[in-house]
């Protein structure tokens, strides 16, 4: 009797244990399933990201590339990439990378737009053979790029993203702050003929001054005044009818500029060469700022301001050594100097002036001086020219003056994964 009971007990317990073991197995399987699910999701995501990275690299090597990739085997799965033009007017493009792995799929979308030089608070091709140091007290508020090395002495602050082709060097104890990040090995040359985009726009719906050595332009709110010699009187025209697309250009002329800007404009000057060989004569290509040039509605106090100006010179953009510039000068513009730089005329001979209050950005081939000074301890004494107070116009991150020179490359503006 008891033997039979024991037999029942053994059978009963065996059944219980089988059920328990099955549940243990289920729990173990769940744990493995969790891990496998996470791994597969991670893997397919990484494949999609890799496809986007490969495509972005291809795109930077060849900005016209639209072929995409079809079902490329990668990391045990595959990716397919398509390139779409999502806005033909702004030439905005989108890379769509779809990764596949073990029945899972994931998509990464990368949006790119043509990159304009106007987005830089500071750009230079060369920092000079005797480079001007970025020193303690220097603050750059927007993106900075140099094709040269960045030379630093002290603790300058870079609030925007800093990119260089080579590297940065420090003198003595330096602790620069890169608050927007730092990236090296970024090659973004200043292409020749950058002013052509403004001239082209000026020739097609804007205003192009030709056949004059010098052109004086004064923005006066809704009007634009111009003349061709110092002593003559201005001709006043309605800005919207004079340059409907906002591009004003002086071909082969020196441009002299001042005034108050209402609306969006790019104004520039190019150089022309007459004659040939030893008799070749180059004229024009410089822009002189004869006085302050400011926005009618100040974006700093009124963020809704749509006033925007680009000053584009084939050579230099210089602050004129004249009576109007004996004190401070206010410049609201993004300044582009293709073969030269932004500086002040007779910087070492002119009298002690004031401060350059620049609201915008500077893109130049090389840095030019704006004044001379001597130091006594930590004090800086101006001898001639100007002190600098440059502030970046944040609106230039998303907008640029009409026809402003392009880098010829695309930049990633959005990455969705």
């Amino acid at each position: 009797m008891s033997g039979r009971a024991i037999l029942f007990l053994v059978i009963g317990f065996s059944v219980l244990l089988l059920i328990t073991e099955k549940n243990i197995g289920v729990a173990s399987n769940r744990a493995v399933d969790n891990m496998a699910y996470y791994y597969e999701n991670m893997n397919v995501h990484n494949i999609a990201v890799s496809g986007a990275n490969v495509a972005a690299n291809q795109f930077f090597l060849d900005p016209t590339w639209t072929a995409g990739f079809n079902n490329v085997p990668f990391a045990g799965g595959s990716y397919t990439v398509t390139v779409n033009i999502i806005n033909a007017f702004t030439n905005t493009r989108q890379i769509c990378s779809v990764g596949h792995y073990e029945g899972f799929s994931d998509t990464v979308l990368v949006t790119l737009k043509p990159s304009s030089f106007s987005k830089f608070a500071y750009y230079s091709v060369s920092e000079g053979n005797n480079p001007t140091y970025w020193i303690t007290g220097d603050t750059v508020w927007g993106p900075l790029h140099t094709q040269d090395k960045l030379t630093i002495s002290g603790d300058p602050v870079f609030n925007g993203k800093v990119t260089t082709l080579t590297h940065f060097v420090t003198k003595g104890y330096s602790n620069p702050e890169f608050n927007g990040g730092y990236q090296t090995g970024v090659n973004m040359p200043l292409p020749p003929g950058g002013t052509a985009s403004v001239k082209s726009l000026a020739d097609n719906g804007g205003a192009d001054f030709t056949g004059h050595d010098t052109v004086y332009v004064k923005f006066a709110g809704d009007s634009i005044k111009y003349k061709y010699s110092y002593g003559s009187s201005y001709t006043s025209v309605l800005a919207k009818t004079f340059a409907p697309n906002g591009a004003i250009f002086a071909t082969g002329a020196t441009l002299r500029l001042q005034g108050t800007v209402t609306g969006q404009y790019s104004i520039g000057a190019s150089q022309i060469t007459t004659g040939s060989g030893k008799k070749a004569t180059k004229t024009g290509g410089d822009v002189y700022l004869d006085g302050s040039i400011v926005y009618n509605t100040d974006p700093r106090s009124n963020p809704g301001s749509t006033d925007m100006l680009g000053i584009v010179a084939q050579n230099n953009v210089l602050i004129t050594d004249n009576n109007a510039n004996k004190g401070d000068i206010n410049i609201d513009a993004s300044v582009y100097a293709e073969t030269g730089g932004f500086g002040s005329e007779n910087y070492d001979k002119r009298s002690l002036a004031g401060t350059i209050n620049l609201y915008g950005g500077i893109q130049q081939n090389g840095r030019l001086p704006v004044g001379t000074f001597h130091t006594n301890g930590s004090n800086l004494y101006l001898i001639s020219g100007f002190l600098k107070n440059y502030r970046y116009d944040d609106r230039l991150m998303i907008a640029s003056p009409p026809g402003y020179p392009n880098t010829g490359m695309f930049e990633i503006v959005s990455w969705y994964e």
Partner: protein, 199 residues
Amino acid sequence: MGFSTLLDILGSIIIGGLVLLILFRVNTSATSNLYTNTSEANVQSAMISVGSVLEEDFRKIGYCKDWTKIPDPTKAILFADTSSIKFLTDLNNDGNVDTLSYYLGPASELLNTPNPNDRLLYRVTNSDAPKSSNVGITEFKITYFDSFGNILSTPVTPPSQIQKMQIDIMVENTEPIDSTYVVAFWRQLRLTARNLQNR
């Protein structure tokens, strides 16, 4: 019934008793294993859920379908501390900028659970009420790195210095098994929110 029969009964009782003891022991052990395995699976499941949500959200720091609404993504992180972060993103991919923040609540909030270390991880969208559920999180730690890979001290000022992050999460079960808690640890090494490096 002779002596040998009595001996048989006694022997079978002893052997049966031993078999019973073994079966009870095996049953107890199997049940304990079942609890442990189930707890581990639950903790791991919670960990993967939390990790997946965090990865999904953190990858989108600075993203907006309408990129002009976050023109400078380096400014997308509004606040960054060891166990809390607030940033701009586009949660629904609808072109509208959202504010998303994560923060770890105090351990005193969950005194009703046996685990003294579990805390609530709150996720707050825009100005909505904080949302959370107790999945047994005992640690939520973010380490921030600048573009040179240096660890940034917290709270990070200014947050625009942040280029990469390391996220650590530890999850424990809320009820102990034999006075011990099952632990799962997840670390996202060097998470790079890609949009922070745009432009």
